[in-house]
Point group: C2
DNA sequence: TTCTTATATGGCAATTTAGCCAAATAAGAA
DNA sequence: TTCTTATTTGGCTAAATTGCCATATAAGAA
């Protein structure tokens, strides 16, 4: 890897890191349906407001969501909808992993039954 | 989030975490072209063999790559090609972020020129 | 102005991750 | 068997991440 390649893969990794957390993936799913205020998301997630605010800030810094202030309320919305295709791919991986597990289990059950 | 939702988002996050590292993204790109031995990837990345081996193990545990031993050499290959669509989405995010930066810069230059 | 509501930020301890070295293992060659 | 090559694993320290609490800020209401 030369310097340019390193920069490229670091840039990609930074965005992916922003997605690599259960609460932040939940937020992406929610914002796909409609924009939401910090307070709404906080209630749905069930964590401290400051925690959710920081998660949103991580997503915002990565360019995945954007915010708009209305009065004292800040509404967040999804900036890059293609993120959702990506999640469907992750589901494919999970499905594939599940199949592998099933195969392993059926293998062992057969052996045990012998 | 109820317990099932938490499990779902944790499962997704675990797979995404496996991708959230420059070297591992590089590996995914390389394996998309062709299967590679640990030694080849190690040389391309320029890190310790043990480090690369551990990165490969992370990807394998996540179900993203699979391995096949031939003699003393272990060849890794991409198990879930859709991972690449996802990376193209990440590129979209990077492009969008770059555009935002350009807008910010052009805004400030205009101001400074006044 | 002060009060209240909504968010963001600072700070800290606990947990996780990364990468190197050294040592262990696997498989074939001599 | 011993030697060699390829890879993995254990162990360790350094760095990054997480989540809560307390505090600060922003904006409107009184």
């Amino acid at each position: 890897m030369n310097q340019n390649e390193i920069k490229l893969y670091e840039a990609r990794a930074n965005i992916i890191k922003a997605l690599a957390h259960p609460s932040r993936l939940f937020i992406v799913d929610m914002l796909n349906k409609q924009p939401r205020a910090v307070g709404e998301l906080t209630e749905m997630i069930g964590a401290d407001t400051s925690t959710v605010s920081k998660h949103l800030s991580v997503l915002k810094n990565a360019g995945i969501v954007e915010d708009e202030k209305k009065g004292t309320t800040v509404f967040y919305s999804l900036k890059t909808p293609c993120i959702l295709n990506f999640i469907s791919c992750i589901e494919d991986v999970i499905e594939s992993n599940t199949k592998t597990q099933v195969e392993i289990l059926s293998c062992c059950r057969t052996r045990a039954a012998k």
